[in-house]
């Protein structure tokens, strides 16, 4: 078939077809894109082959090669952006957000109607806690790909964080109707959890675990969340089993290591948190370690928290809510209040309300603190920490009966919800004569 051969290797023609080809390749469902030379020499293909077991670094290198060979096809940039996002997930190195931003921007310049690029930009906005922008991207992606569930997932997450719970409920039902899988079940679980339906949340998370996913890390993630739900209701043995299963699925998985610490004796918990911080020095683990040290009567070291927060901010992440709670507990209450107010203005969710309430209480304004704590609990959430904040605010505001009710509910859910705050809740209840 030399007539056929003669057309292979006509570079200009093939280059002109690059986008068509990529569409075709995607239609085939490719993990192998593309060397456009079309050589007929064996294995000279040099195409980008990314097997499913490839590490994220391999994946990044392959997609970088892909966008070099296909600089005008938006989809190569989509893949690369998603690989950068996964890199953050595995290393906590938020500088990859900037790189993801760069390639999604490039993809959108090439093809503003590429649903994967719009969805990618939406997930990046979510990761940076720019929920209004995320909602916009999600809605746009949804228009471009009405039968895909992923854009709906971006919309759901944004609506939840913006406090639009009725909208989120509708979107989430649409998502589950489109595609019941790990992604949608996990979101149903969180929605139920926010509304205080913890056993329903556990049921949905079990469905997510059973459905599984292609990436071990994703599966370990939902197994860890299942552990956290068990922990929240005081089922420590089940929680431990869930964390150990996650570590079996993805050895060394840091969120599961930290989860295991919450159900371990103090000495072991300290070891586990230290190893978590050593591998992934994220504020939440540094804070958890510090609070455990404090509970053990040792000097906590929170210096890393602010350093990490600065790094995150430099990568475009809005850390207001998390930082507000940290400042309220371990730093400057006045700063806590201004951070929490800003967080509420940007994302009026129950999470922001809780943080604002606790910031106000810590700043000596417990009356207002209780008001905001109640808004934080408005959906019926049964988060022991939310309840603790509400109870302590009520106590400080002189509302003894209210304080008793919140604090007992918190401890009834999980008497050991925090090494630092659960004993404080107990002491306070005693002072209140309960």
């Amino acid at each position: 078939m030399h007539q056929l051969r003669s057309h292979i290797g006509e570079g200009p023609l093939l280059r002109a077809l690059a986008v068509t080809l990529a569409v075709f390749a995607a239609a085939l469902g490719t993990f192998v894109l593309v060397n456009q030379r079309g050589s007929d020499a064996p294995s000279a293909a040099g195409g980008v082959s990314v097997p499913p077991s490839a590490s994220t670094d391999t994946r990044i290198a392959s997609y970088q090669q892909l966008v070099r060979s296909h600089p005008s096809d938006s989809r190569g940039y989509d893949f690369l952006g998603d690989a950068y996002m996964q890199k953050v997930r595995e290393t906590g190195d938020a500088s990859f957000y900037k790189r993801a931003d760069g390639v999604y921007t490039k993809a959108l310049q090439l093809n503003p109607r590429d649903p994967a690029a719009v969805t990618g930009a939406g997930t990046l906005a979510l990761a940076r806690h720019d929920f209004s922008a995320a909602l916009g991207y999600g809605q746009r992606a949804r228009e471009l790909a009405p039968f895909s569930f992923q854009p709906v997932g971006v919309v759901v997450d944004a609506q939840v964080e913006l406090g639009r719970y009725q909208d989120a409920r509708r979107s989430l039902q649409q998502m589950i109707d489109l595609r019941p899988n790990l992604s949608s079940y996990a979101r149903v679980s969180y929605f139920r959890e926010l509304h205080g339906d913890l056993s329903g949340a556990i049921d949905a998370m079990k469905l997510a675990v059973s459905a599984g996913g292609g990436a071990a890390e994703n599966v370990a993630y939902v197994q860890t969340l299942l552990g956290n739900l068990y922990f929240a209701v005081g089922r420590r043995a089940d929680a431990r089993e869930a964390y150990r299963t996650a570590l079996e699925t993805f050895p060394g998985y840091v969120p599961a290591t930290a989860g295991l610490a919450t159900v371990s004796r103090r000495a072991r918990a300290l070891r586990l948190y230290r190893s978590a911080v050593a591998r992934l020095p994220l504020p939440q683990y540094v804070i958890a370690l510090g609070e455990l040290q404090q509970a053990a009567g040792k000097r906590p070291d929170y210096a890393l928290v602010r350093a990490e927060e600065r790094l995150l901010q430099a990568s475009g992440v809005n850390t207001d809510v998390d930082l507000a709670l940290f400042e309220a507990n371990h730093g400057s209450p006045a700063r806590a209040v201004s951070l929490a107010k800003r967080a509420w203005a940007a994302a009026p969710s129950v999470r922001s309300a809780d943080a604002l309430g606790w910031a106000l209480t810590s700043a000596g304004r417990p009356g207002q603190g209780l008001h905001w704590a109640r808004r934080g609990l408005a959906l019926g959430s049964r988060d022991p920490l939310f309840l603790y904040h509400a109870g302590m605010s009520a106590k400080a505001a002189g509302r003894a009966a209210v304080a008793r009710a919140y604090l007992s509910e918190s401890l009834a859910l999980n008497p050991r919800f925090s090494p630092l705050y659960a004993p404080r809740a107990e002491r306070t209840l005693k002072e209140l004569g309960a």
């Binding site: 469902g29 294995s43 292609g214």
Partner: protein, 475 residues
């Protein structure tokens, strides 16, 4: 060409995405990769050692690396897996076999998949065991007429961990071959993926390695990977429209269409507790009573070559009876034909491809057509009256072998080459001997049920990529 490739495509997007570590706000993965729901292939044939029966092999969970951790690969306990049969030609299932799995962890304190020396399929040393129930549903115009559990608590073949854990793997796995009442057989568990393809060729915009791909030289990119198979062998009378056996290829009950699907529970966001109350009022079961189809597969060509990327979720959720309306235009004017012409100038007809519609959707008249007025539907048609070939040809009907694809599909049928040639116009007299250069699976198939063979063990796994030897051009 194959569903697994679709999954592979999504891996990039899929593995991802998004957990903001700086925060307490919850970001679950947004992954499209869903291997437990992903039906990769369906095969349907009359086996030489069981000529009075229909044999179906259906595969899920693509790209199982046997060394990838045996706990990771198993059927989803909460999903329903189906083999569907249409014997009236309306694209709606008339008979369904449902497979529902359950995982048992014998020692909850151990996280080992198995202890060394597993000697039987129910050996307590096999710590993680899956069992399943088979339910046969009969339907009329999509409405259930009867539903009968035909087998329960059947064992799933364990994953092939290695010779220390399961010294005689073949014997242990063979214990998963179970009889069904009425003369059928069933098997479920890990197997070598029978599909063979040079993805590098096919998905690199048909970057042929040698000639037009009909001289070997291809690299079997699926060598070494496993899948989870369900093999089902049924007396033909169990699937025909009249419940009788088939007298010959021209018999009116000879042709049926088969396809797989996967369904998952459609939960209510508001929660099981409130949903259960609501359902009780209406006398319905709660929670798991409502299922959504998340995946389906009939012909090995349609989903990947024909359905555009943005339509795939929709395709997976819809029924074959809707195919003409929703996707007919993509079959009649396949994108692939245009690309082939631009690339290779092969003169592939670009429009009005009724030949493809006939070969895959409505059936070849007198050969694979169900009844007189079949609805175009993506189901794998098989004429049960055609006896097994003495000399099977990997190109099936194109190679003059009337027992092969697109009349059913045997394990050794080279659907990649067949598909490329059909799209290039073979059935309209435009003969272009295209291929991917891989002609057969790297591992031989078994001559007896379940026909698909064991994977390499995890211990021995290398995911090798053998090169098919170069040979003289095939006609």
């Amino acid at each position: 060409m194959k569903k697994l490739a679709f999954a592979a495509a999504l891996i990039a997007a899929a593995i991802a995405v998004s957990l903001s570590f700086g925060s307490s706000h919850r970001e679950a993965p947004l992954t499209a990769l869903d291997p437990t729901a992903d039906d990769t292939d369906i095969y349907a044939f009359v086996a030489p050692d069981a000529t009075d029966k229909l044999t179906v092999i259906a595969n899920w969970i693509p790209f199982e690396d046997p060394a990838g951790g045996p706990n990771f690969y198993r059927f989803d306990d909460r999903a329903h897996y189906y083999i569907n049969i249409d014997n009236t030609g309306d694209g709606v299932y008339d008979i369904r076999y449902q497979f529902a799995f359950k995982t048992h962890v014998l020692n909850k304190n151990s996280f080992l998949y198995a202890l060394p020396g597993v000697s039987s399929i129910r050996d307590p040393k096999l710590n993680v065991q899956q069992t399943y129930t088979v339910t046969r549903e009969k339907l009329k115009k999509g409405k259930t007429v009867s539903e009968k559990v035909v087998a329960r608590n059947l064992p799933v073949a364990p994953n092939n961990v290695g010779p220390k854990t399961i010294p005689n793997y073949t014997a242990v796995a063979n214990q998963a071959i179970q009889s069904l009442p009425g003369g059928g057989k069933v098997f479920a568990g890990q197997r070598d993926d029978p599909f063979f393809v040079d993805l590098g060729t096919a998905f690199d915009a048909i970057n042929l390695r040698v000639g037009t791909g009909n001289q070997g030289g291809g690299k079997d990119d699926l060598a070494g990977y496993g899948v989870h198979s369900i093999a089902l062998q049924l007396p033909k009378s169990d699937v025909t429209i009249d419940g009788k056996s088939v007298s010959g290829p021209a018999a009116s009950n000879a042709v049926v269409g088969v396809w797989t699907s996967t369904e998952r529970p459609r939960v209510q966001v508001q929660g099981v507790a409130s949903a259960a109350k609501k359902h009780k009022k209406h006398g319905k079961k709660s929670d798991d009573s409502n299922f959504v189809q998340v995946s389906r597969l009939g012909n090995p060509l349609i989903n990947e070559l024909v359905i555009p990327l943005g339509q795939k979720d929709h395709f997976n959720a819809t029924q074959p009876s809707q195919d003409a309306k929703l996707y007919g235009k993509y079959v009649l004017s396949p994108e692939l034909a245009k690309v082939m012409n631009l690339l290779f100038h092969v003169n592939a007809p670009e429009t009005n491809r009724t030949d493809i519609v006939q070969a895959l959707l409505t059936g070849l008249p007198g050969k694979t057509q169900i009844g007189k007025h079949p609805v175009p539907a993506d189901t794998l048609k098989i004429n049960l009256g055609v006896p097994p070939s003495a000399n099977p040809n990997r190109l099936g009907v194109l190679g003059g072998d009337l027992q092969g694809f697109p009349d059913g599909r045997r394990l050794a049928d080279d659907v990649t080459d067949i598909s490329l040639r059909v799209v290039a116009g073979e059935l309209k007299g435009n003969h272009v001997p295209l291929g991917d250069g891989v002609d057969a699976n790297d591992k031989p198939f078994l001559s007896t049920f379940p026909y698909v063979t064991a994977t390499n063990s995890g211990f021995d796994s290398q995911i090798p990529k053998p090169i098919t030897p170069t040979h003289a051009p095939t006609p």
